[in-house]
Point group: C2
Chain length 313, copies 2
């Protein structure tokens, strides 16, 4: 229930992330968002109503995706909501998926957007960064303020893990409260300043800190500005692909050497079986080949059109 008194031997998350990106030569992060209605028909989920059986299919699907992308990308991002939607069996499946991804050498970012105060934040940090699910990083919502973020930071540091704090999200509604202008600066810029301070504090002698930021691919101008304002912060960039972000839109998220950004794609890759340009010539049971094609396409698009090209050496 409490943070371990001694740090583990794990090196800092920021260093592990940079090493993994460098080794795979791409900043691609594959989102794992299992949804019954979107799964490859070959998995037979459509006719399943029993929660345990559906959870098993979710786990099989994610493991099969992981087996395809593990040699290609540094990190995967399971979407907690998708597993929660199907109940306790879904949470067991999620533990299996995280464990499988790590066994394949992938880093795991748990996308839960958690946030609460004091001992409640500690409990979330325990569950996702230290305990039963033991991911490498977790997304965190900043609305409750500094003292709600601090327990996550402490746990991250103790475990060699990381967090990514929501700053400017990819959806149109991010304008509603994040863009409120307070004394000449937006709400999200105040959050960004706090995140950069935490990144600098946790970076020590390293280049990046344990605290990153979520900034949507749908806001190229803000990506530019935030990259400049947050030099020691890893940026997690969702919204690439289906949400409308193009490779050229995410250029600003990178440092010139191709580090500093993680670009997320989920549906375009994991549900590539439904994309005509990816499923050409494939039978239904060959859906993993479509995932492989789509993952390569994403990697190539980022290498062609962003500073991630520098990772190719």
């Amino acid at each position: 229930m409490t943070a371990p008194s001694q740090p583990t031997a794990a090196p800092p998350f920021a260093a592990r992330l940079a090493a993994a990106i460098t080794a795979r030569r791409t900043p691609s992060c594959i989102g794992l968002d299992p949804r019954r209605e979107s799964l490859p028909p070959a998995l037979g989920a459509a006719s399943i109503n029993e929660p345990k059986a559906l959870a098993d299919i979710f786990a099989t699907f994610c493991r099969d995706v992981i087996d395809v992308v593990a040699p290609l990308v540094p990190i995967v991002k399971p979407q907690l909501a998708c597993f929660e939607a199907i109940g306790p069996h879904g949470m067991t499946a999620l533990a299996d998926v995280i464990s499988h991804a790590r066994s394949k050498g992938l880093l795991v970012l748990a996308d839960g957007k958690r946030g609460d105060i004091g001992s409640t934040a500690e409990a979330y940090a325990e569950g996702w960064l230290a305990g039963p699910w033991a991911a490498d990083a977790l997304t965190v919502n900043p609305y409750l303020g500094h003292d709600s973020i601090e327990p996550f930071v402490k746990m991250a540091e103790a475990r060699g893990a990381g967090i990514f704090v929501l700053v400017k999200t990819s959806n149109p509604g991010s304008k509603d409260f994040q863009d409120l202008i307070c004394d000449g600066k937006t709400n999200y810029e105040y959050v960004a300043a706090s995140v950069e301070a935490l990144a600098a504090r946790t970076a020590g002698a390293g280049r990046f800190g344990a605290v990153g930021a979520v900034v949507g691919a749908t806001w190229p101008k803000q990506l530019d500005d935030l990259r400049a304002a947050m030099p020691r912060t890893w940026l997690l960039v969702p919204g690439f692909g289906r949400q409308g972000g193009r490779a050229s839109d995410v250029r600003g998220a990178f440092h010139p050497d191709g580090l500093g950004a993680l670009i997320v794609s989920a549906r375009d890759v994991i549900y590539a079986h439904a994309r005509p340009e990816m499923n050409a010539g494939l039978a239904a049971h060959q859906w993993q080949t479509a995932v492989d094609r789509a993952c390569h396409e994403m990697i190539e698009r980022l290498a062609a059109d962003t500073p991630a090209a520098a990772l190719r050496g």
Copy 2:
């Protein structure tokens, strides 16, 4: 995975909540925050390390608390983080706790502070308001904006359920971003205006809507102001008891007839075995008697010092 196409027969949450408060003649909400280090020693959790066994103890503890408070209060609030902290078995225990509370005639508010966009928000709403955990209401974080709240509202309306959106939280750090002043109004006042609009929209011919607000007991002045600004919004008020809020501090949360507010106490009640003024004369195995005493004390304090007195008729 998707919202049911037809609403259920359940009456609206706002009406069910008002009826339950009126029937029990108190606005008390008991928080269910099981933590190994705080449990009554009689439950033997200290020596347990196996997750399934610990989850079983959490479920037993919460069921035993529920059995004590079910005749006394209208609603309980399980803290999702506490169950998540111990893994998938914890989530199974939570489903058992929710089901037991409902079987005892209690309403259940799942305190998860969830928030995400589009189909991801739908998945959270499915899990907590319709699907496997099926609570009566869920707490929601507004940072991502209107389009992140809307899927929860839709599901709440379809299921006769409710949501409580974070507005001004009880912790000191709520000042960091919630209190930023934008064009003469605080960030949280913008959120409050959105919540009240949603409450009015979902209230129909009723007095209150399906969308409530979380406002901490630690901010009496803001409670006064928000009660006035949000006449059709249920206010969920944490921070009573250990976090420092007194009964007189939460007066402002009520309408004159004693409705409109839910006052939360967790540790002061569920861990009353550790309070000398509550455990006098009790053996260790009689911890439920301490819970009973503390629950009565909370009810009496609210009746003595707030408009909840009007509920006594």
